[in-house]
Amino acid sequence: MAGKVMAMAEAVHRFVPDGSTVALGLALEPLIPFAAGHEMVRQGRRELELVGPISDALFDQLIGAGCVRQVTAAWVGNVSEGLGHCYRRACEERIPRSLEVRDHSNFSISLALWAAAWNVPSLPTRTLLGSDILATNPGLVAVDGLAQVQAVRPDVAIVHVQRADETGRAHAWGPLGITEEAGLAAGRVIVTCEELVAPDVILSDPNRILFPETKVVAVVHQPGGAHPSPVQGYFKRDHAFYRDYAEQSRSVDGYLAWLERWVMGVPDRATYLQHLDLATLRVSQHRMSEPVDYGFE
């Protein structure tokens, strides 16, 4: 088996070509793979189709950088601050380019991914009835008193997790949102992780493994790769960083200055982290789970 462990630049270069449909931010507010997103910006990725439930600032950043052709999501903005200014500019003024939006609700984007995971054209649901989302998204149809949600099949899902091994078997904990169905629906999965651990650690608890390793094509050891989003047991959410981004991104110039400082002007995530006060962001009080016994003899 060819090695899956690689640098972020290589993972994005090899597995996120222009035009890819990319699922990101699948656990909602936590575990957002910002480092992977920033690498896409640095590599000048174009014509991406982004898929996610809500996006807490990362979609906004990618849209502002001109990487994105289409968004399929339930919500795009900045969760603690409100509007996504780049998203607004793209939709309202086509700055830096026009954007196609496929609106979903949180439930329906989950079902769209379950449809792809189970390889059926669509799944029915009672949500969306009476909503204009159903009337305007061509991937949603009302039939016989139910909404039919067409499958959404990402080319690649990118997930940030607490720990993984070299084959891509990943442990994540805390709320998982639509992570599991996105990974199963995607053609391939890129795992970025706080800790790259020995297989024994992961295999000691197979119930916590997110995806089959056969889906995972790249494993990137990227501590802090989810900042400013939180990572249970590792990092708090950096509320001030989100606020700062919201304020600066109100104008195009402000956004570009922000992008230069935090993305284009840094070669990688390790350098980015040097600009932060990591000590205040790190979780220092541990709360360990009670182990379980997998014994068999």
């Binding site: 909602l28 609700s105 949500t127 009835l129 709320p175 639509i178 708090k236 959410r237």
Partner: protein
């Protein structure tokens, strides 16, 4: 017991908390409703549970400040950390008693728009979208929305229904269109509380917040808002309500900003 000094957001939190009944399973959402759940749980609704679409169920407020529902303090003490689709399953089964939805624009029939102002193909304003709002509006047994009271936000009819209330206001619109839940029961604004008739339909003015008048509210509302007889004053937050609010938002992140 009423306090003389509180912000409009603190009053909204208290009013929202009073919508939570003991034993309710509450789809909490974000921002002020997170505080409302904490206040209710510490006061009149000790057995109310909170459900969060990120994939969490709780029976008590988190031990730390929450900037979002997915923040790590919300996971510690959770009764269930799971997938969103499982949380949505409970709501689709009719198990969620009350949901909260943040609104950008609401109309006289309780429909919310959080998607597009103007033509969706060429919007004047692109709003963030539904999130779980449409799901809550359609599937929870009853729901409440909170928003800043401005004439441009309380409109006669929204141009885009993200989260349906009572649709076009005709009788049984929700049932005819197959919507599972009962619909909105209150709109809590920075000026007043609007409510709906038992069987749904058009919102009426149920109470006005201290320091504001019926005339002011009507002037700031985009339709001919009907008062329900003599409109009482909204009871201000009690000291316990304020104490709880400030315990869970010590920096005033949600309740003391502009």
């Amino acid at each position: 017991m009423a306090s003389s000094s509180y912000t409009p957001q603190e009053l909204m939190v208290a009013v929202a908390a009073r919508e939570i009944q003991d034993g309710d399973l509450v789809f909490v959402g974000m921002r002020l409703p997170i505080l409302a759940y904490a206040v209710a749980r510490n006061a009149h609704a000790p057995s109310a549970r909170g459900l969060f679409e990120v994939g969490l169920m709780r029976d008590q407020p988190a031990a730390g400040f929450l900037g979002t529902m997915g923040d790590p303090p919300n996971v510690v003490g959770a009764l269930w950390a799971t997938r969103m689709s499982n949380v949505m399953a409970l709501m689709a089964q009719g198990s969620v008693d009350l949901g909260f939805i943040g609104g950008a624009e609401v109309d006289r029939f309780g429909n919310l728009n959080t998607s597009y102002v103007g033509d969706p193909a060429h919007p004047n304003v692109k709003l963030p979208g539904s999130g779980g709002g449409a799901d809550i509006a359609i599937l929870s047994r009853r729901w409440v929305t909170l928003l800043r009271h401005e004439r441009r936000r309380l409109v006669d009819r929204v141009s885009f229904i993200t989260s349906p209330g009572y649709g076009d206001g005709t009788p049984h619109w929700r049932k005819r269109n197959g919507l599972l839940g009962g619909g909105p029961v209150a709109i809590i604004t920075t000026l007043c509380v609007l409510r709906f008739p038992e069987l749904g339909g058009e919102a009426y003015l149920a109470s006005v917040h201290p320091g504001h008048s019926v005339d002011e509210v009507r002037a700031e509302t985009g339709w001919d808002l009907k008062p329900a007889g003599d409109v009482p004053e909204t009871p201000p937050p009690t000291e316990p309500e304020l104490t709880a609010t400030r315990r869970f938002d010590p920096e005033g992140f949600w309740t003391r900003s502009a």
